[in-house]
């Protein structure tokens, strides 16, 4: 009896040791091998799916897209403002709510005095949109990094990340951001939507995206396209000294909105 117990304990001890060692070896093997194999299997970089977001200051944009708006062309043809607004809003499924409190606007026409803080004998209505500032206060204030500067220098919003806190709406000194108080689909005709582009949902902030999706397809922004005959709007890379926009800026006197705030807008006006 005694002998049997001794043998049993021996076997139990050895097998416990073997088991523990085996687990340790197996764990090491698994942890060493799995990331590489899963990456090879899926072809998807690990971690990317968890939507890592880079700090807007981490990467310096190689480009900085800007816009020059020639107000005299708009004065010659006052219908251009309406054309730009409808082209932009139909392209991006921007809802139309009659109540000004619910209104969502990517571009709009406002009084010269409100736009520039001074009076002008020559102009009444000015086309305004997101200035895609080089130093944007909205990006600084966004707590979720939903709004950021992309590679083209465009101040973009990731609607997947926007929590609707509206800090950016408060931060933008130009008032160029709109909050979706209502479900935007209530203000859209579902039959005439641009089905290549999404709508937004209630509770996110939206602004002009400089037609990033059109630029990606090699097209010009909708506002440029619709005013191309009058050549009222020119877009280009402000970081490229030889671009058309820089030649215009070098040879013509232009104006930015509220330049003293230090936001350095990328939208310029020929007054």
């Amino acid at each position: 009896m005694d002998k049997k117990r001794r043998e049993f304990l021996k076997i139990a001890g050895v097998s416990t040791l073997a088991g523990l060692g085996g687990i340790a070896v197996a764990e090491r093997f698994v942890s060493g091998a799995s990331p590489a194999s899963s990456r090879a299997e899926t072809g998807v970089e690990p971690g990317l799916g968890s939507s890592q977001v880079t700090n807007p200051k981490d990467t310096t944009p190689t480009k900085r897209l800007g816009m020059v708006i020639d107000l005299s062309r708009f004065k010659n043809d006052p219908s251009l403002v309406g054309k730009v607004i409808s082209a932009c809003h139909t392209n991006h499924n921007v809802p139309n709510f009659p109540d000004e409190e619910d209104a969502v606007k990517w571009v709009s026409g406002i009084d010269y005095e409100i736009a520039f803080g001074e009076q002008s004998p020559d102009y009444t209505e000015v086309l305004v949109l997101c200035n895609h500032c080089d130093n944007p206060p909205c990006v600084e204030d966004c707590p979720t990094r939903a709004t950021f500067i992309d590679n083209n220098g465009i101040v973009a919003i990731d609607y997947h990340r926007c929590i609707g806190c509206r800090f950016c709406v408060a931060a933008c000194p130009y008032g160029m951001r709109s909050f979706n108080w209502r479900d935007p689909r209530e203000g859209l005709d579902m039959n005439t939507l641009n089905r290549e582009f999404p709508t937004r949902r209630r509770g996110v902030v939206e602004n002009c995206n400089f037609c990033a999706e059109r630029l990606g397809r090699g097209q010009m922004p909708a506002c440029v396209e619709v005013t191309s005959e009058a050549r009222a709007i020119v877009v280009g890379d402000l970081n490229d000294p030889n671009s058309e926009i820089n030649i215009i800026l070098g040879s013509t006197e232009t104006k930015q909105r509220m330049p003293l705030l230090g936001t350095n807008p990328s939208v310029f006006y020929i007054v």
């Binding site: 998807v44 990317l48 939507s51 992309d150 083209n152 990731d158």
Partner: protein, 107 residues
């Protein structure tokens, strides 16, 4: 009798044509089993590529090129949201927010 024969013949010809027609896009971006498990990660990667890093490069499958897009790529082949998305998601009680903004094909 003659008329019957004719219709059978045309039916047969149509049937043979239908069988031999080239089925466009038999391949998806990943094999079906993998897509079932990983489509949500892939969509997130696409979203970050397009929106954050500005990498709008097209994906080439079987000689055809597709943008990285749920609305403009996935749903162009899988044209029914009811059959392609809802069937599984309802079964597994997964609630999505995709269609709050993205437009599903008209059914």
């Amino acid at each position: 009798m003659n008329g019957n024969n004719k219709s059978i013949k045309t039916g047969l010809i149509l049937f043979v044509l239908f069988l031999t027609l080239p089925q466009d896009a038999n391949l998806c971006v990943l094999p079906a089993e993998q897509m079932r498990v990983e489509h949500m990660q892939l969509l997130n990667v696409w979203r970050d590529d397009v929106l954050r890093t500005g990498d709008r490069s097209l994906i080439e499958i079987d000689g055809k090129r597709y943008p990285k897009s749920l609305q403009n790529a996935c749903m162009k082949c899988h044209t029914s949201k009811k059959e392609f998305c809802d069937q599984c998601h309802i079964n597994t009680s997964v609630t999505l927010s995709c269609w709050d903004c993205h437009l599903s094909p008209i059914e």
